[in-house]
Amino acid sequence: MASRVEILNDGGFRSDGRKQYELRDIVIDLSQQGSADGSVVLSHGLTQVSASVFGPREAKMRSQTLHDRANINIEVTFAPFSMGERRKRSRNDKRVLDFASTIKATFEPAIQTKLYPRSQIDIYINVLQQDGGVLQACINATTLALAAAGIPLLDFVCAVTGGVQSASPLLDLTTLEENDVPHLTVAVMPRTGNITLLTMETRLHVDRFEEIFQLVTSAGHVLHKEMKAAIKDRTRTLVAAMSVAPKAVGEKDPLYSERMDDS
């Protein structure tokens, strides 16, 4: 594989035409899906993930309620058609469960669960297309869905994947690059700069770590700008839509309306 495809060619371009530090296109669709409180479809290039948030709501299983904070429940499903090779993963696949618990651990420091004792926040993630950076896409989608659902967050959580190809760092890897290059995923909370996740499934030389880590963290800040712009845009649209409607008879203020007739 590596012999046929050059990860980084002499001109400094990668296999999909990007430069070393270039991120893929990001598409954020925050439109309403079904009865979810917050939902998003997020694409990083060809990787596409949809996330829906329900809650905080009454826990379906009483054993899961925590008396001092909300319980976060994350379920991840990989669509059978999401990869080149059609493959059905069972719900109890070890890797999938592990993946979900990684995401849960990432968000536990970011969600203000203390405000909702005895409740449950359900997050359903559906991986629709995989082309590298699935974990980063899932984390970013979850952040956006949580923000859209009005769940109190300490900050956005922005995740980016980075790798090192023979001493030159790369950002936002595709499947092709992930198979070939040692890589890591970092989730950063941009306001404080706290890192809520750092995973490495491959071996990376310790001397390279510092550089790629710094680079990925700063890429997280770039993603943060896009994510907050999308959230602000949605808030603005909704607020504008609400103000268009005519007011009720004699209504001065929506909060303190005085209506003449209620026959």
Binding site: G55, A149, F156, A245
Partner: protein, 319 residues
Amino acid sequence: MITFTSFPKSKDSFSYTAAKFSAVDGNDMDVDVYGDDYGEDFDSGTKLTYPGESITSSYDYMRGHGTFIDQGNVISSVAGTIERVNKLVSVRAIRTRYNPEVGDLIVGRITEVQPRRWKVDANSRQDAVLMLSSINLPGGVQRRKLESDELQMRQFFEGGDLLVAEVQAFFADGAMSLHTRSLTYGKLRNGQLVCVPPILIRRLKSHFVSLPCNVDLILGLNGYIWVSKHIDQNRQPGEEGLDAESVYSNQNEAIDAPTRMAVSRVTNLIKVLASHFVPLSDVILLEAYEWAVENDVEVKDLTQPDICEGLIATVGTKG
């Protein structure tokens, strides 16, 4: 390089300049978002915020809902609009679950029967509780604290039943307690439930609305709306024509075809308005209904996007 499609195109027609927030146009509270002492401390001009944005210094202002304090700053924790009352800064989330307050009228669904209480789904962060002692027994009988009452609970409300109630109090953990101790509250029948985002239902003088098309509405503050057949004046609760036994009846009355049509039409109109995030009131619903009748729009046509656009355009301009 970077593209955004964060919302369907249809809503882009609303220009942001039209946006004014509820806190701004004068009510009695001292709320002026553009106040003199405001500009420096706040990110002035924008009254919209997102999680993690620093709003102001915590030494000069108190934090309200939707905010937290970190390193001497008041920071927003939800996406929504900033509101300020004197020194209290809070952020109201644009989309969130229902936040109950005592006295609110809600529509809910029984999820569970427990000893001496029912659990009610009310679109809130926890299920509400309806105690056996806070319902009216049929015929206004005083409750004799007997075991037989507890055994008969399912004759009043069963799992899946819909009811209209009022928020009575809160428990220590924030769960709400309901009561139906008024003749206007109780079990619902002869109609259909619609769910909308709770922020679209404003507090009105009366949440029981009668439309002239033979349809009654109950606008629950939790975003659940009950659309039902109109009940005649003399059979309204409290009048002598009311049959005491029918209060907890599970049987629908006979509903004729035009009424069914009207109920479905109102239901669909509410869905259309809610999907375009238009706040609901009796005036708007009436206007929308008249528009539907005038333009001869069939009930099923209300599910088509282009017709919905026409409706939203009409309702928006009349105001």
